[in-house]
Symmetry: C2
Subunit: 238 residues, 2 copies
DNA sequence: CAGCAATAAATGTCTATACATAATTGCCCA
DNA sequence: TGGGCAATTATGTATAGACATTTATTGCTG
């Protein structure tokens, strides 16, 4: 009997009636006044519940008009993009990283690099392999803008892959993932110790901090060794 | 000069200091008491701002201990789960669907079906191919619980694939996607007119309505023909 | 009947207060 | 020294009231 707080109970009451289809998009929700007498509580309590549903995108609220069930625009789900070392540790596997190559390039001389990362200037380029229990699971190519992250030039990535280093040191405001499938090519197949053409999950990610591109990464996970999980749960809470 | 409400100003103040890196993961945020004297307002106002940041996952708040900048474990991103017909129409391609097989099975006789969908009873099983401009792009296997969706038994899916029909008719409360890569097997390769072993993006999705499983679907997208996009923007707000 | 103005109804924000709950800190005693 | 209890502190929840803002409705007027 941990009895939820009242505002959460009001929230989940309405939420479940929306999600179950009992309340359809466009339907009107009782006014705060009505709900406060129905639940026998103060208006702030009802307001907290409805504001949360509004913030979660389940309700549209307009002054004087009332609260209405929002019509869903896009079906969006939460995708947990994992940090590989963290994720493997959680599974009880031993994580390893081997740096295959590390060089500094310049978008003015190597155009295709600028195209990938989407910025100008000097760029740190690394290639490496992620291991789980000494078995290769992923190949990684990474570009890091040295204009945005000059400190990274002094890192050797002996103990920590560039991605984890960046995650710990560099805050970012926006990112975009592109998820697809592809076959391993000659270079990646050799690094991952699989045959050419082996299916791989491909994750490409660009990360920005306030309009400035920080890094581009392309990871190839050997089919079956790794999967992404995306959830849509009733709410963003948990 | 519409001057934001105070609680939003407090929120964005702190939020921008987190996102800019001025406040790092693990750093302590001033207590509500301190913030209320700093902004010259009541505690509820500060509380509203901090609670919102907490709900957004930017803060960890613990009683007695205080509020701390959350350390991003797995970064949650928004994944737009596509409805294939809608998505292709948006791209200006002509969508098509061919039903290859349709049967009704029972989890009590076919155990592996019950295992996939995670429920008991009679199940509608369909196999089909999605086309873009008459070219196959995806193979789909779908299981639908007839206990949860009896109406679907009378559908023939001549005009509309089962997924779109479900999306339009059946509300759901929870879903989970599992995204990986795999090679086409004999059956799927023949249906997609590719050679066996061709890399494919695999999306498996289970959908529930209030603890009752509605449907399981497994889609195989031919590598290169389709990609998922996931975005993360600074805040969950619009 | 059209257009405009007043009214009322709903949400939005904020205050000041109260008590509840959890966790840290430190003190006391074995 | 160390274990356990109590005091303290910060957050969590809730109340009752006030005023602001937006906008649908109503009613008045030409």
């Amino acid at each position: 009997m941990t009895s939820l707080p009242l505002h959460e109970r009001i929230r989940t009451d309405i939420e479940s009636r929306i999600l179950s289809g009992e309340l359809k998009p466009g339907d009107k929700i009782p006014s705060e006044k009505e709900l406060m007498s129905r639940y026998g509580c103060a208006r702030m309590t009802v307001n907290k519940a409805l504001s949360a549903l509004n913030a979660a995108g389940l309700l549209d609220r307009r002054k004087r008009a009332g609260s209405y069930v929002a019509r869903p625009r896009t079906v969006a789900m939460m995708l947990d993009v994992p940090d590989l070392p963290t994720e493997l540790a959680r599974r009880g596997q031993i994580y390893g990283f081997r740096l295959l190559d590390r060089r500094i390039s310049d978008t003015r001389r190597w155009r295709e690099i600028g195209k990938k990362i989407g910025c100008e200037g000097r760029v740190l380029v690394t290639h490496g392999v992620h291991f789980a229990d000494d078995v290769p699971v992923a190949y990684e190519e990474r570009l890091v803008s040295l204009a945005a992250v000059p400190e990274i030039e002094s890192q050797d990535f002996a103990n920590e892959p560039p991605g984890s280093w960046l995650l710990r040191h560099i805050p970012w405001t926006e990112a975009e993932n592109c998820i697809g499938a592809t076959g391993a090519n000659a270079v990646t197949a050799r690094a991952l110790k699989v045959s050419i053409g082996t299916p791989c999950l491909s994750v490409e990610r660009r990360t920005w901090r306030a309009a400035e591109c920080i890094t581009f990464v392309r990871q190839l996970y050997i089919a079956g060794s790794y999967e992404l999980i995306a959830r849509f749960g009733s709410t963003g809470r948990g």
